[in-house]
Amino acid sequence: MEESLQRIVFDRLKADGSLDHDWSLYVIAACNSEAELASALDSSSTHPASTQAPPAMPTSPAGAYLHSVTVQGFRGIGPEATLQLQAGPGFTLVVGRNGSDKSSFADALEVLFTGDSHRWAGRRAQVWKEGWRNLHHPHPAMVEAVLLIEGSGRATATRRWKKEEGVEAGVAEVQAPGKVKQSLDSLGWTEALVTHRPFLSYNELSSMLDEGPGKLYDALSLVLGLEDLVEAQTALSNSRRNRKKAMDAAKKALVPLRARLDQVHDEGGDQRALDCLAATGGRTWDLDALEALTDDDTTAAGEIDWLRRVVVLELPAPARVAEAATGLRRATLEREAATGSGSHRAGTLASLLEGALAYHEHDNVSDCPVCNTSGALDPQWKDRAQDEAARLRVEAASWEQALGAVRGAVRQAKELLVPAPTVLQRAADILAPGAVFEAWQQWRAGITLTAPEELSDHMEKNFEPLHSALETLKLEARTELEARQDRWRPVARDLTQWVKEARSASLGMEHDSSLKTAEDWLKKAGDSIRAQRFEPIGNQAIKLWEHLRQQSNVQLGKIELAGAKTRRHVTLDVTVDGVAGAALGVMSQGELHALALSMFLPRATIAESPFRFVVVDDPVQSMDPARVDGLARAFEEVAQERQVIVFTHDDRLPEAVRRLGIEATTIGVTRRPASVIELRPASDPMTTYLSDARALENDSQLPEDVRRRVIPGFCRSALEAVFTDKVRGRRLAAGAEHAAVEEELALTNTLTELAALALFDDKDRGSDVMSRLNQIGGWAADTFKQVNKGAHHPYPGSLFRLVTDAEKLCKQIGARK
């Protein structure tokens, strides 16, 4: 965004205390660029760090005036022709008949600076583009404008075309005296040529109001340089819209996902589906829960979990069970084999002796508790008994070992009698684990058995049924689990993806209200800045319209730029005969055109424009004479500060300028055959005719007979001009309407009738004309007679005398009241 605009926005934020709010950061970022806004929104820094004031406003650009325009080989202009202008504020009229190619100068200027012409935009584009070269002088083709630029002086802008080149191929350069040539772009006018277009033509102006409200708005608002503001607004609203879009997309994508979850649940009672539905059912989504639910590895929800646990159930390996049973039997057999053996008895005896020794030791008795022999248990006995017990213990070792082996085998066997896992009961809703459970219970029941033989029988009998029942159940469980996973996984995968989207959408929506505040603020500020900037243009347009409306009953109260985007339009507060709310439809073509001119002249002439000139092509056209007076006044006003160059095809505007005493330079354009263009300063018609007559009189190259035949005609036209001006001036001053005066003038058929109308305000008093002229002097009546007659026959007398007398007569009549 242009720095001055940033500054304005910043100052406004500051003025209403909005800089303290988070959203002001978004306003400022959006004013910088869309990218800046994006990064401001990404980095969720809580307070604007970059709210430093932008630099102060730049000054308005250096203005340029036109010093001259030279054209060669372009449209109707053949050999080089130069339109000399006064490089400064003022009003220049370039007058020439249609076909004199005065407009070629206007077109050439436009093509020089813009490389294009509005003429080439319309329907007849091809005709214009093909016929841009002059037929008589196709090469070289060139347009050159000498500029006077404030602060830097003269510079010459040139566009040249090579042979056969199309109009768009020309090369444009600019050169200041003593400096190198540069591209025309170096003037820095590219943008201004669009926004402050200094070329206005009748066609363009007429179409401006027809092209729809949006176009008119654009054409007027471009000049305000507020597109960047619109862009910033768009950046904000786009950002918001994109966020909302993402959220809407997430919401929309959720609908089919939820339907699928319903289906998954219906088909297999998947708890995960239910949980996911719950997590997405409310106004806000539990995205963390969803993420956990859809993570395949960590999900441990209900039945799936039971199924999974059933699938991994394991019994002791069959080999181990068989081994344990065999071990039991072997240990039992070995114990039985040792029963009643010496070792068995030695063990029994050793235990007896050890009991006696403990008894003796404990109670300190000496009587034998077995045989009641008193005093038998003496220290000698004790020594012997101890030795004997130790010896017997050694002898009993193999028996002890057989007993130990049985205990070990029982212990090992019972370790295999694991209890039935609880998951079997839990899985009862999904599977049919009853048989397995019972078999397992049965298997476990062996734990209470003490006899090793029974235990080994139990194991051999009960393991195999349990094992095969469990394998069957596990297969069922695996099948069920896979069926469920097949239904779930695709949904889970899509849900995982969706969670990502939903998370970013939710995150985006966190800025929504700040963005909305920023957007609303900028819109309001933009409207207010726009209104403020447009006000001077609108006011000037109304002022110009006051000049141009003349007898029009259409009053213009206020012009405003309203609406935005597709609904943008220009509000014209138009009142017709005091009735408000009237539309443009009630206005005539002439009024519309004048209105367009009122609106676009200010656009071309505001201070920000680098163009101190404005070129207006054929503004008169269908205007009635009264409005031409207003037009002359309007240009006079603009010309106070700008160089106004107006091309016109007849004498109506110059006549109004002369009659109203408006300061202006008039240049006449004529075109000889072979596209030779002549430009010469023109004064009022009377003076022109007389100076032409004098020039002819002095032109010794011309045959005398020709001079004698032609000069009286010029003198008569001078008289006609002075009479016409007299009639018009008097009538209009008395308040007559233009149209009535012109009609009256048109009714005069002869010089005498015109003279009568001028002298007596009555065209029928022709017979009094000569006597009135005789009052001025005999020479006056004589001159009148000679010029009237001499227009048809060679004048025999002194041509010098005739022209001198005609001049004198014109002046005297012109001076008379």
Partner: protein
């Protein structure tokens, strides 16, 4: 065509054709004046042969009379050209001098009218 009429037309053509600072800008009106006089001279010559005396009447009367002496189309052409040239020879409010192409057209018409009056006894030559 009399040498006078032809001479006037040649001068009128000359004003158009040759760029000359002295006549810059004023040549259209000057050429119109000469062309009109050429037409009037041609008419005078015609009347003197066919109806002596008519040339003394106003041009308006002469144009009305011509309808009885010449082909109606030719009379119409003569009247139209003379009116146009007259308009160009006078000062008219808001009007600028004629263009080169207008003058060329009128001058060709003067040549045709005067030639036809003289050689075809008042019948307009079919356009070439």
């Amino acid at each position: 065509m009399s040498s006078l009429t032809a001479g006037l037309l040649v001068e009128a053509h000359g004003l158009l054709a040759y760029s000359d600072a002295a006549t810059a800008g004023l040549w259209p009106r000057a050429a119109a004046l000469l062309a009109r006089q050429a037409l009037e001279q041609g008419l005078n010559d015609f009347w003197q042969v066919r109806a002596p005396g008519v040339e003394k009447g106003t041009r308006r009367s002469q144009m009305l009379c011509l309808r009885s002496y010449a082909d109606e189309q030719l009379a119409e052409e003569a009247n139209h050209t003379w009116t146009a040239l007259s308009r160009a020879c006078h000062h008219h409010a808001y009007e600028l001098s004629p263009t080169a192409s207008e003058l060329k057209r009128w001058m060709r018409s003067v040549t045709d009218v005067v030639d036809s009056l003289e050689t075809n006894g008042g019948k307009l030559r079919s356009p070439a």
